[in-house]
């Protein structure tokens, strides 16, 4: 889906922004988002301030602009949906620009933070602020096996195509559901192997 957009920019560059401690980046991002969301409607000064800060970060982090634009466009479905509903109602139209500006700023903030901070660092910060261990373990495992399972799904799709199950549209759903079911079974088998491996490496 959007996985190919993610890979190339993680931790590859080494600039001031990437070296900043994760606590600072996450905290700063949260402050910017909170202010942007909570300030009442005509907070133009703040919008310009935030834009300036984020622009500076973009320059310093040397993330490719094209990549950022591409990611920003992924916001489109929801914003367009609400636009369509709002466009027919004059009372809400005035709010529209403000709403879009806010959403885009918040999105850009998360985008910048997530593309300059490795996920393991984020988990470390979460652990520091006392998020329950179970949730952190689950997050770490999910992030680790996300790519593995997506590749597994892709292999299964290719195998199915290789065995010519491409034929009639009517019968595609049960076949696809079979693939999804098989994916779940493989995931649970993998989970058992992971647990065995963790025990072998001295868990508890």
């Amino acid at each position: 889906m959007k996985l190919h957009l993610l890979e190339p920019h993680h931790g590859r560059l080494n600039t001031v922004i990437q070296r900043t401690p994760a606590e600072l980046k996450l905290g700063g991002g949260l402050v910017i988002i909170t202010l942007t969301v909570m300030l009442p409607a005509p907070a133009t000064v703040w919008l310009w301030c935030a834009t300036a800060i984020l622009g500076l970060v973009v320059l310093l982090s040397r993330l490719p602009l094209l990549f950022l634009l591409q990611r920003l466009l992924l916001l489109a479905p929801f914003v367009l949906g609400v636009t369509l509903v709002n466009a027919f109602q004059p009372a809400y139209r005035a709010h529209w620009c403000w709403l879009v500006a806010r959403s885009v700023l918040c999105l850009l903030t998360v985008l910048l933070v997530s593309n300059t901070t490795p996920f393991s660092e984020v988990l470390r910060v979460l652990r520091r602020v006392r998020v329950p261990t179970l949730l952190i373990t689950t997050l770490a495992l999910m992030h680790r096996y996300l790519f593995v399972l997506v590749e597994e799904a892709e292999r299964m799709r290719r195998a199915r195509a290789g065995r010519t199950f491409t034929a009639r549209r009517r019968w595609q759903w049960p076949v696809l559901a079979g693939v999804a079911g098989q994916l779940f079974i493989r995931a649970s088998e993998r989970a058992e192997r992971i647990y065995a491996a963790m025990c072998a490496r001295g868990l508890k």
């Binding site: 988002i33 969301v37 509903v85 809400y92 998360v110 949730l135 689950t138 999910m142 559901a177 999804a180």
Partner: protein, 334 residues
Amino acid sequence: MDSASVAQSVDPIMHIPDGFIDGKTVVVTATLSAIGVGLALNRVHHTFPARKIPMLGLAAAFLFAAQMLNFPVVAGTSGHLIGGVLVAALLGPSAAVVVVTTVLIVQCFLFQDGGVLALGANIFNMAILGAGGGWVIFRCVAALLRGTRGRITAVAFAAWLSTVLAAAGCAAQLAWSGKVDWKSAFTAMVGVHLLIGLGEGLISALVFAAIQRTRPELMQTGPSAEPHTRWGEFAFFGLLAAVGLALFVAPLACPWPDGLAVVAEKLGFALAATPPMLPVLAPEYSFPGIHSAALATAVAGAVGCLIVFALALLLACVLVPKRTEHPSATSAPP
């Protein structure tokens, strides 16, 4: 998988971005979600065997990977699994709430699907209403109809209803924040998700049946695997979903002279009380002979539920032939 079909994939538009819900909604939804997820984590911690803990992360990764399988609908569009109810039926409600919450956090941070401050709202809609509430519906139907058929019916019906509930929750939160008009948001969101829910119900039931066929021992929902402590979860998630929905929807849907306008005025918005110019998308719910609008909506909703329930039952009968029904129903795996 291939980029052409990805572009046309019908994404359920339910991940609320930042900036679309206001302060009070953020606080209320975050509180409700924190209570729900906190209890779910606690339940998992105390009742889940240690060897199954890695399954939580793997199930979350599975949900993410399964959402990339595109199910073709018509004319080049396709839908995909959402999966809250499916995971709840397979792993139990508390685990499902944790799994869906994890997916939402990763989607928010790595893929910017849904906002940071809106995370509470998204978790409430999709994890607590979608997975936890969906599981409550699943249990009710599964208690009503026994055996494999009953469970497949329950998965299909619960997946449909919980998708619609989550859409209603999303619309209500947007309207509560004064960002969209309640009527048009409700009609648009619920109207679209009535259809998306049908797809979700069908996919969930097909996947559930496929797993049931190949590895019946993976199923957690048999009567033997049902400790009585589940009643606590049943009551808790049912209650939380009901309280949340009532909290968001009641002030909007109540028939008194514009309760929302009063609230909005007090909170400093001046944008209530404009008649919607958008012609209502779905035909106005009404039944001949019933004059109260609320009652008519309720009756229409009940009839819709009955129709989908019948469809789910039909699907289960098609998926599980009579011959295989009885052995698996009577002799549950020990």
